[in-house]
């Protein structure tokens, strides 16, 4: 029988649909019985959706317009 700790450890794989059938069913039956774990999984999903909406980016000090210009000039040099 799967426990809360298993849900915490496999939450990502469960959400991604990356688990073998038997493993998935084991977690599913625990989720049916355990409201805490259903809430936990829902929170993980909300965290992913929120992050996807914020879409944070890698911090960079590079001037992208300048880089684009340099690459453009390089491309012309090859013509």
């Amino acid at each position: 029988m799967r426990q809360c700790k298993d849900i915490a450890e496999e939450a990502s794989n469960y959400i991604n649909g990356d688990l073998p059938f038997a493993e998935r069913m084991g977690l599913f039956f625990h989720l049916v019985l355990c409201k805490c774990c259903r809430n936990y999984l829902q929170q993980i999903r909300q965290s992913i959706s929120t992050l996807a909406m914020i879409k944070p980016q890698e911090q960079s000090s590079i001037d992208k317009d300048e880089l684009a210009k340099q690459l453009h000039d390089l491309c012309h040099k090859h013509d």
Partner: protein, 197 residues
């Protein structure tokens, strides 16, 4: 290859300045994320610049077997791997990770405390809170580079797990662990905020 992507590549080859601005704007940050994950902060900027130059030179030969984004990420990944080989460095997969807090569970693996639905529950409501948004952003920036790259590629850019494994040169199980750790950290920072407000 998608029609709009084919058109974009044609514009790049023919030297359309706007096309260059667009691809740099869209792909530079994720390329930097991959470079930092593989080669570390010190070499990342150099690696990405070299990757851009290689990519621009190789563009006429791009056959479109993958998306332009995935192709660029493979170029930056190869450059980063070459760079760390040259510098004889390696980046740890496990830096900065705290395992699932063992004190949350009893010996049989049951939770000690109940988990409730969040008061601020929808992504829209979460986003409307500027303080929380800043906390999430900060937590993202503080993730170890490997976790940040896996999270960015899978959850933010929709890149397939197989491609992520190839780009970061890690096994499928390692990629899944990195993604899970990153998501857990982001969840934890939102959870702490909800508990304190």
């Amino acid at each position: 290859m998608r029609k709009d992507e084919r058109q974009l590549i044609q514009q790049l080859i023919s030297g359309d300045q706007q096309a260059f601005t667009l691809v740099v704007s869209d792909y530079h940050n994720i390329m930097l994320s991959v470079a930092r994950a593989i080669a570390g902060n010190v070499f990342a900027d150099d690696v990405v610049q070299d990757a851009w130059i290689s990519a621009i030179k190789a563009l006429p030969k791009f056959e479109g077997r993958s998306s332009l984004k995935t192709w660029l990420l493979h170029i930056v990944s190869n450059g980063a791997k070459t760079r760390i080989r040259r510098e004889s460095r390696s980046i740890s997969l496990d830096d900065g990770w705290e395992s699932v807090a063992a004190d949350k569970f009893d010996q049989r693996g049951h939770r000690y405390d109940d988990v409730y639905t969040w008061d601020i529950a929808t992504p829209d409501a979460l986003l409307a809170n500027e303080q929380l948004q800043a906390i999430i952003e900060a937590a993202f920036q503080q993730l170890p580079a490997m976790q940040r790259a896996a999270l960015t590629m899978y959850d933010l850019e929709g890149i397939k797990m197989n491609d992520i494994c190839n780009i970061l040169d890690i096994s499928s199980s390692n990629a899944r662990v990195l993604l899970h750790r990153a998501r857990t950290t982001i969840h934890h920072c939102i959870e702490q905020y909800q508990d304190n407000h």
